[in-house]
């Protein structure tokens, strides 16, 4: 499902126009990322939780040049699905 399809589907579900939906989606992502940046865990009920995750820096070995390179650590957004979501996914399979 591409972004465009997703926006169309979301607009249908929310009962809004696509342009409104894209604007709202952008502000939604912004609030989500900002609050995650401020060390907050966003718990969406029935879906999962978003959290900032710090990736440590690590050594990488390049076998062709035989050199070690340090890949710097970074902060990423991690998602942990809730058990309810797991149930929902597997309900339909059954």
């Amino acid at each position: 499902m591409t972004h465009k399809q997703f926006i169309n589907e979301l607009a249908k579900n929310a009962g809004m126009t696509t342009s409104e939906t894209t604007d709202l989606m952008n502000s939604f992502i912004k609030t989500l990322v900002d609050s995650a940046q401020n060390e907050k865990t966003i718990m969406l009920q029935g879906f999962g939780s978003f959290e900032k995750k710090t990736k440590a820096e690590r050594k990488m070995y390049n076998p062709s040049t035989k050199e070690y390179r340090i890949i710097p650590g970074s902060n990423t957004l991690a998602f942990k699905p809730s058990t309810l979501l797991k149930d929902k996914l597997n309900q339909d399979a059954k």
């Binding site: 579900n13 900002d34 865990t41 699905p81 996914l89």
Partner: protein
């Protein structure tokens, strides 16, 4: 500890961010969750631009052992949703806060190739320096770094445009064939000198430190001190091309001077101020003679001129209650000796640099033939390898190693095998002659 943010809190924040009421935000968030789940079930993955991709993956059945009984059991497979981010949080955070900085960086990147046009624009805006900069542009093809420096110069000059432009024109008219490197050496001097002239704040700081009586005098002194060095280094560059090191040394001295002047004025108050006036007046008298460059003859006078700004520093710091003139003359003599030493050192350095350059050129010349020799060596080796038609098998060798040895591939092993008609290529007695195709 990380705070927890419930759906409700998020919807409130979203409502505030987007400027809608809470109910609409709530419906939106619920619709978002619903569509992601439905899309995941339907298509397997949901891509959201700016956030990431939700993917529904099937976890296969796997076997495990019951801890209590030790029997084998099968854990049933299931579907799970995984998420991979589209965003690096560090970058996202930067984009929120440091948008201005990024834009500036982008502008700077965009400007780099356009330095030529910018240099001309700045030159057009300011009339008097424009002549000098245009002449420089016409005379020599100048790399980008120098152009940036020239931009700085053109920006800084207008406060004291007459002095700088006159000196520049002198340099250009006298020696238009000056090498580019000297142009580079000139420019930082102008920067150093023109900055203190522009910055009245510096003068103000100094005047704040000094007593009220010394304020006006020190200001006059500073301006005089700063004006005189403007002409000196440039004129010294003219006569001899081999003295860029002098030019590099002097600006440091000049850079130090104003600071020392500050110290003097604070410490010695009114008496020292009176002492300082006299040498600087001599400077002012000698300064107008400088812009008429008859090259080598005026050089020593300029050297003394450049020494004079240094003299008050030594006199004032050494003697709080001076016997004025004696000290001044003594300091002048010392400064002359110092400058002579600097000149000798500079010439020595330049000669040594020339030697180094010659050495490097010799080295480079030597290196080239070496390379050619090496290439020649490689060719006969290749010929040697390909020449022999028979190879005597030795311990540890096989047809593949021989093939690699002579043809650099394993592929011709089959050809060797066929040519020699071995029954078993893995069992060949030592010392057998192997014909090579």
């Amino acid at each position: 500890m990380s705070q927890k943010l419930t759906t409700q809190a998020l919807t409130e924040m979203l409502a505030k961010e987007a400027g809608i009421n809470k109910r609409a935000a709530d419906t939106f968030v619920k619709a978002f969750i619903q569509t992601v789940i439905e899309g995941g079930i339907k298509d397997g993955n949901v891509k959201i631009k700016g956030l990431g991709t939700f993917k529904v993956t099937q976890v296969a059945d796997r076997e495990s052992a019951d801890v209590n009984t030790g029997k084998r059991i099968v854990i049933a497979g299931y579907k799970k949703m995984s998420f991979s981010t589209d965003i690096n949080m560090d970058e996202a955070y930067e984009s929120v806060d440091d948008t201005d900085i990024k834009e500036n960086q982008e502008e700077a990147k965009a400007d780099k190739p356009k330095t030529k046009t910018k240099a001309t624009k700045t030159a057009k805006e300011k009339k008097e320096p424009a002549k000098a900069s245009k002449n420089q542009d016409n005379n020599s093809v100048i790399p980008e770094n120098e152009k940036e420096i020239q931009n700085e110069i053109t920006e800084q000059i207008p406060v004291a445009p007459i002095v700088a432009s006159s000196t520049k024109e002198d340099t250009i008219s006298a020696e238009p064939e000056l090498p580019e490197t000297e142009v580079v050496n000139e420019s930082p001097i102008h920067n150093l000198i023109s900055q203190p002239e522009e910055n009245e704040a510096v003068d103000n700081v100094i005047s704040d430190n000094t007593d009220d009586t010394a304020e006006e005098e020190t200001n006059e002194e500073l301006t005089q001190v700063e004006e005189t060095p403007v002409t000196e280094p440039v004129v010294e560059v003219i006569p001899s091309e081999s003295k860029p090191t002098e030019v590099e040394n002097e600006p440091t001295e000049e850079g130090i001077k104003p600071a020392v002047v500050e110290n003097k004025t604070t410490e010695i108050e009114t008496e020292s101020a009176k002492v300082e006036i006299e040498p600087i007046e001599t400077k002012a008298e000698s300064a107008p003679t400088e812009p008429q460059p008859t090259k080598v003859e005026i050089e020593p006078t300029k050297a003394t001129d450049s020494s004079k700004p240094t003299t008050p520093t030594s006199t004032a710091t050494s003697s709080v209650q001076p016997t004025k003139k004696l000290w001044i003359w003594g300091a002048v003599a010392i400064a002359c000796v110092i400058i002579c030493a600097i000149i000798i050192l500079a010439t020595g350095n330049s000669s040594s640099e020339n030697k180094d350059n010659q050495a490097t050129t010799e080295m480079s010349q030597n290196e080239v033939p070496k390379d050619s020799v090496v290439t020649n060596d490689n060719k006969p080796e290749d010929n040697k390898v390909s020449k022999p038609k028979v190879h005597i098998l030795q311990k540890g060798e096989s047809l593949t190693t021989i093939s690699v040895m002579y043809y650099h591939t394993k592929d011709s092993m089959g050809a060797i095998w066929k040519l020699n008609k071995f029954k078993n290529p893995n069992d060949i007695p030592l010392g057998t002659e192997i014909k090579l195709p």
